[in-house]
Amino acid sequence: MADRKHHTSHEEHLREQRLMLDPMPRGKMNEMVMEAMHTTSWKFWLVFGLLAAIVAYALFYKWGVMILEGLGVAGVNRPSYWGIFLVNTVFWIGISHAGTFISAILRVFKAEFRRPFTRAAELMTTFGLVQAGFSIFMHMGRVWLSYWLMPIPNQRQLWPNFHSPLSWDLLAITTYLLSSTMYLFLPLIPDLAMARDRTPDGTWQKVFYRTLALGFRGTEGEWTHLRNALNIFAFAIIPVMFSVHTIVSWDFAMATRPGWSSTIFGPYFVIGALHSGMGAVVMVLAVVRGTMKNMKYFIRPEHFEAIGKLMLIISMAWAYFFFNDYIVQWYGGDKWTKELLHWHEAGPMGWMWFAMLIFNVAIPWATLWNKKWRSTPWLIFIVGMLINVGMWFERYIIVPISLTINRMPFTWRLYQPGIEVWLGIGTLAFFILLYMTASKLIPLIPVWEVQEGQMAHSLKKYGRETVVTVSELE
């Protein structure tokens, strides 16, 4: 709670704590955001160069090798036909869920703390989906024919098989990628216009912003259309988001395999996605706050505190769904499912199963209940990272480890990752690289949304107590 020992007024303290009560003139704020974008140290370029090299080698070169030689260079085998490729696909789709969650669900429920980082989160959605796409294409044996999966008229007169969960996946991921990109772009237009106005003529940046701002001025009509569209998007993208990860879970749940065929997989995957997504958001916010100029003003402990609360709730929900899935499988007593559960816990990769539970449940519960701890950026960064590791483990357990056990014990075999480790590192590097590029090209803080929020917030005295009030502007 607020510390009133030093007789700093409560009001002053509140203003210090909360971005929304600490208004800044629009011009100044614009400047801060532009400055954050334009201030680039050599460290940035060092990391950028390093990541670019990793992307070139691990992602594109190694992928090229795999395309030419075949999937034999990876570790996939019978019965682990899917391996890390699908682990990463699920993982990145999971990451992508945080953006939508923050900017759509929190927008719908008018959670004000969302304002400064909706864009940072939405960028994760789009870039995460790009990596998911990479992972799923890598996984294909004949990626050069991947367009055959698209529902487009073709000379083969053959349409995709809509019985297949993979076809649903394709539709859902495409829908999600397109809609989340549009949802990223729409609220970006006013900020692009801002950047346009603050960029000198004759530079390529000017051309860039001018083109992307589409001629936005901020007329009443433009704002109305935009606001309407954003409201539609915020509502409509939520079921799309749920459908995406549910359908991803159906890739598994529709299969006639022990352990996979589970009706709770849909919500379990969705909550898992949010779990890793929120973990990733705090990581990104901590890095942005720590490395980019002026960001300490925009991203404050209160934000970590609020996300931390969400993380704790999601962690509890995840544990609930996990247990739900587990006990039903366990209780059923099917021979093969029992073997699988035993394999999860006592097999050679049993440590991963326990690590998953520790990282996803034990550590978040042990730390996030404490307001001070969850307000500490570095601490919550570590918790977020562990959650992401834990969630990656969870997918690893669901994909290759569960694939080991099937109904033909003669074929059970351990999976040893090969080139896909490189490719996975490549997607991670590419994700960060895209993020870094974006942070230099587009305003990472939605200035107009922050301004709108600051406009809506005020302090009001009730008796002796000063409280924050928010007015509904819309």
Binding site: R78, G141, L149, L158, N161, S167, R257
Partner: protein, 252 residues
Amino acid sequence: MTVDLNKLHAVGAIAEAAEGKWGMVIDMDLCTGCQACVAACAMENNIPYVEEEDAGYGRSMHWIRTERFWEGEYPEVKISGYQPMLCQQCGKAPCEPVCPAFATVHSQAEQLNLQVYNRCVGTRYCANNCPYQVRSFNWRDYQDSRVRPEITILANQFNPDVTVRRRGVMEKCTFCIQRIHKAQDKAKSEGREVEDGEFTTACAQACPANAITFGRIDHPESLVSQLARSPRAEHHLEELGTLPRVTYLKEG
């Protein structure tokens, strides 16, 4: 003209009542595990070998493999029967609906589970979903002479009736569909039906113990149907409702 059961959504009936069903009976009491079927299958169907490391890593391409398990402890130990495991040509194949590219489909004419190599994009979903784990994937370009120079000579043996698969494509037992078609074409040109036992699959043809019998299981009088009615008969993983077309005769 027959009623299209598909259109009536009579799912179970399709597999049960379909005409033109080919099936197989494997007598596990006779199978000696000698691998002649595996070799015959490889020679007939241009199946690549994958060499030591890949073979030991679960990447062997056998379309048919003999599984064997141990029972008991020394000295009362025994092998609980050799079970040749091949594509069961399920009537309701779990591999089929999951392929996004329609690369594995149910054939109406032969009532087989087909793999269309050139439609396959290699998602390997079918293999994951196959309860029998009998699909094999071309992890590398095993049949490309640029990768394996020896193929130039070995390829002289390749069966021209069967295509050669390249990397990234799933494959599996076809019940030697090339032989089925050849026999049907011949019978048609002679204006008759294919007779029971007129031809057989490569594995059944080679099997020194005569443990494999192949034929029409929709003809009750065919040898394979008669054997399938044996009290020793059972289907593998029957509880999944895949309606397998391979019947195993247990020992004893």
